[in-house]
């Protein structure tokens, strides 16, 4: 079997952000379900957190391409 180990590394790097984004949106849905009028505020916070967590996965993606050879 041949392939590129960078892809494997990216798979590992995506685990953490995957769990993190799941937790963030779970909390967001919970919050909106309990208090629908707070949606606007929660949306901003949720997407800010989402963007910060997602940055880790994206760094993994970029490094997977950079260190490919």
């Amino acid at each position: 079997m041949t392939g590129n180990i960078a892809i494997l590394a990216y798979g590992l790097a995506a685990i953490g952000p995957g769990i993190g984004i799941g937790l963030i949106f779970a909390a967001y849905i919970n919050g909106v379900a309990r208090q629908p009028e707070a949606r606007g505020v929660l949306q901003t916070i949720a997407f800010t957190g989402f963007a910060l967590v997602e940055a880790l996965a994206l760094l993994g993606l970029v490094f997977a391409f950079i260190f490919r050879t």
């Binding site: 505020v41 800010t48 963007a51 940055a55 993606l61 970029v62 391409f65």
Partner: protein, 260 residues
């Protein structure tokens, strides 16, 4: 792009190299496809906005309604709610331009015959992130003074021994991490999304035309996945334009906020 798969008998997976498409010339001064797409997007935006804002009506037509919808979305839920009703007005042109430029360029990734997300080239993403970077730092320095701006990195009320550590961390965040992630986020999302579409399209084409008969079934399924993924891509494109402007607004809000 289809030339890649059609030319050879073994399947070659698409890669980053497929995004480098010089039309005229070669090397650093080549006229690339992304430049042409970006120019088209600028023209489209300017024409639409001028036509709409030139003759505003009390009862809006369809185009005016759409433009007003985008504008009021950026103004209210991104500008006013995040930066605050006191300070948001000077930054509205920046936020609105960023949002509409990113949105149109992202959508060009799935619009037939254009089909190239400009921001999947890192240079364009860095240029947009650089504008944001200069803006929030300049605003922060103008508001608080240079020393005051550096001081505002560390929240007040921390124990003394942790302050240097926090300062180094926050300094790195403001100077390196924020602009780098801003550029890499939009570039990574556009690149990955477009690469996904490319894999399904080229894979489907290969399975249909260059493989055994039994493989035509997954080939058709692969084209089906392209359609599904295109719909998903449109969602991501909206989301990324939103996230970019949201983070811009959050950074500016942090720079203009009073110490507390």
């Amino acid at each position: 792009m289809s030339l890649i798969a059609a030319g050879s008998e073994t399947f070659e997976a698409p890669g980053i190299a497929d995004f480098w498409q010089p039309l005229v010339g070669d090397g650093a001064f080549a006229l690339t496809r992304s430049m042409v797409v970006f120019a088209i997007s600028s023209i489209v935006i300017v024409v639409i906005l001028f036509r709409v804002s030139g003759r505003l009506k009390t009862v809006p037509g369809k185009t005016q309604f759409a433009v007003e919808g985008v504008y009021s979305f950026v103004r209210n839920s991104l500008g006013r709610d995040i930066i605050g009703s006191k300070d948001f007005k000077p930054f509205l042109p920046l936020l609105f331009s960023l949002f509409i430029v990113i949105l149109v360029n992202n959508l060009f990734g799935v619009i037939p015959f254009i089909q190239f997300p400009t921001l999947s080239r890192l240079g364009y993403a860095i240029a947009l992130a650089a504008v944001v970077y200069v803006t929030y730092n300049a605003v922060g320095i103008r508001r608080k003074g240079f020393v005051g701006y550096l001081k505002s990195f560390v929240p007040s009320g921390l124990p003394g021994w942790i302050v240097p550590l926090m300062f180094v961390l926050e300094f790195l965040t403001y100077v390196v991490i924020r602009p780098a992630t801003l550029a890499l986020r939009i570039m990574g999302n556009m690149l990955a999304g477009h690469l996904l579409l490319l894999v399904f399209t080229l894979g489907g084409e290969y399975l249909l035309l260059h493989s055994t008969t039994i493989n035509k079934v997954p080939g058709v399924l692969s084209f089906g996945m392209t359609l599904v993924m295109s719909a998903f891509e449109i969602l991501v494109q909206f989301l990324q334009a939103y996230v970019f402007v949201l983070l811009t607004a959050v950074y500016i809000a942090g720079a203009v906020a009073d110490e507390h």
